[in-house]
Subunit: 481 residues, 3 copies
């Protein structure tokens, strides 16, 4: 490893274990102080139930939300993780670090979101149930999106720091948008995707590497890494209806959110393919577009999926998102890198930031256009939760607040990212040298000689030669058989 | 690309984008005119609910069907997609085109099935809910099965055309079988697998390529592509119980369909392994059989899974399907290719067509053998839906109609496939030349040069003593391009 | 294949088909005699329902358990299957044999568990429903764990024999632990993981191969095989909450088990990463640890997940399991191999055996510490099922019986494994020679020339030689480190 240390110290043997241990112990203490089971997951529920005249266990919120929760969970760990395996030699980092930061993030999210949303004034406790787990996964999603922008250029320690602050910022902006502004954002177009997107881009801007070209050999994909990435793409795509419906109203709310997301995503695929094919001299398709832009429709429906936007409305949203997102990969990403010095490894600007903003706008418009004739009197109240302090709010005002929420998420992303980025610039985090970016060998024990360097292999070969003859005969015989 | 264009024009830069855009816009317009949310996904549900005395949101059909829907959705996109990645260099085409045609197909299916099954006479609208989404996925499955027969030999444009007509034919035969004949076919042995199978085989027959051997070097699998294919196999296998139970009756209907499919599939695995091992000199297993024949039991239970065939009945069906399907790969496929000139890339005849027919027959027999003692009076009525116009139908008659349905699906598959095949024969669709079949480089930007460097490949040939010189030149050009 | 036969006869063309056919036919006969649908999956349910005043189909147990069942099913086939694909050239065997033995095992489990747990005295029948399917999958899990210890060193016939006896032993110990001792073990820390772990280790001990080093070239992973293994890891990790909650009490029981498992697993990931990083000179992470030890927390919560251990309790369990399991891979596994002659391919001692024992102890302690103040009067009765013969049992006694159950599972594993191991030692099962272990070519048709014949590989370098020098230097040092 002398080579690295000459350039940059990527030794994380001290920092990584310390951060993992200290933070995990902190989680245990804080959970001990604050976190308890909520009514429906507590053994006392049998009494609560009797008291609330609940006749059947099936009415436990668990059964309304668990299937969607599991789908969301798959999106977080397999979806985001494998989507980022497209790079030639960064699959371990993609899946492994995604796994690490998500596992830390969801614990911290339960605390942060609990303090802001569900701290019980009497007891001073946070009571968690299945919906809290979904929200924690959502919160983590914001940070995983940000990871996409810096993939291959940061150390796991930096990622953990990024997640710590990311979750904190998320909880605050979410509180402002959902509670103070009382905007609706069940699938998180604004809260998750816009925030996460700009948070990552802004960090990536601060960490700009002028000499990144030195690791050009490691950039881009190989055949099998692109196939692995499709596993991530498809699980995200298939389960997005669960993502957008996981915390919407029971009954027709969840039902409608699924239908809208299902349709929007379908139409995104067709327009993505169309633009991707147009972008090549002979109409060939580009895996980068298929892996990413096909998901834009789901992002853009994160706010409006639970509204009565009607099926064709969902198709229209998906239609334009496929076009815009793919165009983004073709034109905007290179522009961002050249002029704004934003190096966006996974193109999250095209997959999350832009579609997220579109989703916020769609949400604002469709909210403002809502009417009793379409929703029904009670339906309108349920959908926009016009109750308590907000019972006199009109749909027009609601539309305004939705738009305001949009801006809040952008501001939090950009400003927050700038601050966190400068913290990550400190030379203490063990990030890789420019010529070692996108290379798993920096942070992982890679058994086989990786990016098969010629002479190395050659020696390697000599070693193999030492093996007894019968063996090489053996393999030859094989080929003949 | 000169090399290709010299042979055949595979440039789809005009056709593919045009088809995608025009068809997607057509979908938006038709959805705008016809498709609306059904009662249970509409915000007015709160009133409907009150009116129907529904006490809890959990009785929304959404909660009966959503878990199965998500499993079916995974089967369509990951299951079918990855099952076809077994080829050396066609994983992008397998997963990517599967993704494209399924996304178009499910939209078109919602319209076609809507017009035939649920067009509301008063309003002239189609009201969709979770069950409609499942049916759309089912309808798409028929076309994806057909794709398996022509995998690697057609252009994405041809696949879209194949899907457009496939979905149309599907909706018609489904209407005849389920509505007019009132046959039961919850898991689609007849409607989905038999139709889809023969539709694909018949198209493949019309598109017969006498010189397909010219792309022999691209046929067959490599180690990792076989592993990828197992992802598809397993997700299809694991979720098949959801497939066969997704639209069966609430309660015991779904419950029973799951048990039967679960058991049938298990016994298929053992007989598949047995025959596969018998077929080799030293008892070695063949991945092709494990990847495909292990699923035959699920196909064959598509009709009878919801009936009271009893657990051992399900085991027996699976037992024989494993044998027949594996035998199909060993004996029938070569025969079909040599004598009937049917080139069946994935062997759908063994995985879908034959087991589908078996399923139809099993369904007819078990329906005819149904009795009140086994089902109970009301149980019999529920299972076979002997209500309305059909309330006087006897189980024997029912058996007859089941058999009739079987024939309808075959006829639609064979005749429909022949017609569509001849449309696809037109020289305007940009299909690949014989020597470029099964090669992703025709329709995809493949970053790294075809896995094996030329000279290596050259030696490779020497060892295999298989290929003529022109070919190794060809692969050299490949890498130069 | 002369080469093989010269050493050892791996021809399974007779034995494998015979075993598959005979056993499957036996299953069909036994199912015919004993297995029937239970009330809720029988068409008569409509009457039963009326009789039990069940108002809605949604109260069918199917809807409480099906989502968890499907997740468990995925863990069994994709989770365990792919987790074992990490070896260079044993992916077919890992996924394929896992598929085979699980498919046989679940049928045999339905019978064995039925005879011991749910044989109806009047009718002499076993009535199965969704919960039976989950239990069958659980039972199979025990055998798949054992497979991990002998991976690559046994023939499929041996695996089937191992499964036949494994399931039998499982049903007996399960009966003793759950019914006679009335211990609670919903997620199977004791019944599944401890038993399965020691069963496999003990078999592996008996089958000790002193010359296993002769197949050293096939041991260890390559880059893509490690990525494939992460698919298994993640699906196990994500769905473990379903595993531990699948058969717990409806309502708060399932709800709580999910929360505890979700949290425990998250904290395991952080400590696993910490120890893994500490174990390397430069803090690099080891894929072996990430793939396996991250799951230890789920294993250790198998007993206590349904108890009121409170969220921070779950975090603490996960915290220590990550440490212990990773340490196991670093220190204990080499020790076991050297001194105890236990060759544990997948390190199941670290992933299942040890964490299983911990889980049993945690269960015993938390049970003994349970109180009415925490659980509520009725909650306590429900959670520990203090009804019938056991209605007067105190929590302290319960703790004692939990500990007793722990010992039973260890004894059954060790003794049972020793006996089965000596049966598997008979020279009739076609196991591979020492130099052919961990090689798919023994039992599978591998199309491409596997371990690339030397001369090809040689040229391969010649081509790569064209790369610029700086790069090759750089990577040389890499490997020297």
């Amino acid at each position: 490893m002398d080579y690295f240390s000459r350039q940059k110290n990527t030794n994380i043997r001290l920092t990584l274990p310390v951060v993992c241990f200290v933070w995990q112990i902190a989680m245990i203490i804080l959970f001990g102080v604050f976190i308890r089971y909520d009514e429906e997951s507590d053994a006392h529920w049998v009494e609560t139930k009797a008291h609330d005249n609940i006749t059947s266990d099936i009415e436990n919120d668990f059964y309304f939300r668990y299937p969607s929760f599991q789908d969301v969970h798959v999106m977080i760990f397999v979806g985001f993780g494998f989507l980022m395996t497209f790079l030639k030699r960064y699959s371990f980092g993609a899946v492994g670090f995604n796994f690490l930061i998500a596992s830390f993030g969801l614990q911290w999210a339960l605390l942060m979101q609990g303090w802001f949303h569900s701290l019980d004034p009497q007891t001073g406790k946070i009571f968690i149930g299945i919906e809290s787990l979904i929200n924690a996964d959502f919160c983590v999603a914001g940070c995983l999106i940000a990871y996409g922008a810096v993939l291959g250029k940061v150390s796991p320690v930096q990622l953990l720091v990024m997640t710590l602050f990311g979750v904190t910022l998320f909880a605050v902006e979410e509180y402002i948008i959902l509670n103070l502004l009382h905007a609706r954002d069940a699938g998180g177009s604004m809260v998750i995707h816009t925030f996460g997107g700009y948070y990552g881009l802004s960090i990536s801007r601060v960490l700009y590497r002028p000499n990144l070209h030195q690791s050009k050999r490691m950039q881009g994909s190989v055949y099998h890494s692109d196939t692995f990435a499709m596993i991530g793409t498809l699980f995200l795509w298939m389960f997005w209806p669960s993502f957008n419906s996981a915390i919407t109203d029971h009954g027709d709310g969840q039902h409608r959110a699924v239908i809208n997301t299902y349709l929007g995503l379908a139409s995104t695929v067709l327009t993505t393919v169309a633009i991707s094919s147009l972008s090549q001299k002979t109409g060939k398709l580009d895996m980068v577009h298929i892996q990413n832009s096909t998901l834009a429709g789901g992002v853009a429906l994160g706010t409006a999926a639970e509204f009565m936007i009607s099926p064709y409305g969902a198709l229209i949203v998906g239609f334009f998102c496929g076009i815009i997102s793919t165009m983004g990969y073709i034109f905007i990403s290179p522009f961002l890198e050249k002029t704004l010095k934003i190096q966006d490894t996974c193109g999250i600007h095209n997959l999350h930031a832009m579609p997220g903003v579109i989703g916020g706008i769609v949400g604002a418009i469709t909210a403002a256009a809502a009417s009793e004739s379409v929703y029904g009197k009670q339906g309108l109240i349920n959908t926009f939760d016009f109750t308590g302090d907000f019972k006199d709010r009109t749909v027009l005002t609601q539309g305004g607040y939705q738009a305001a929420g949009m801006c809040v998420s952008i501001v939090f992303g950009v400003v927050g990212g700038a601050i966190v980025g400068s913290i990550l610039k400190l030379p203490i985090w063990g990030d890789p040298a420019d010529q070692n970016c996108f290379d798993d060998e920096v942070y992982w024990e890679v058994r086989e000689p990786g990016s098969i360097p010629p002479i190395l292999e050659y020696n390697n070969h000599m070693i193999h030669k030492q093996q007894d003859l019968s063996e090489s005969n053996f393999s030859v015989e094989h080929c003949e058989s």
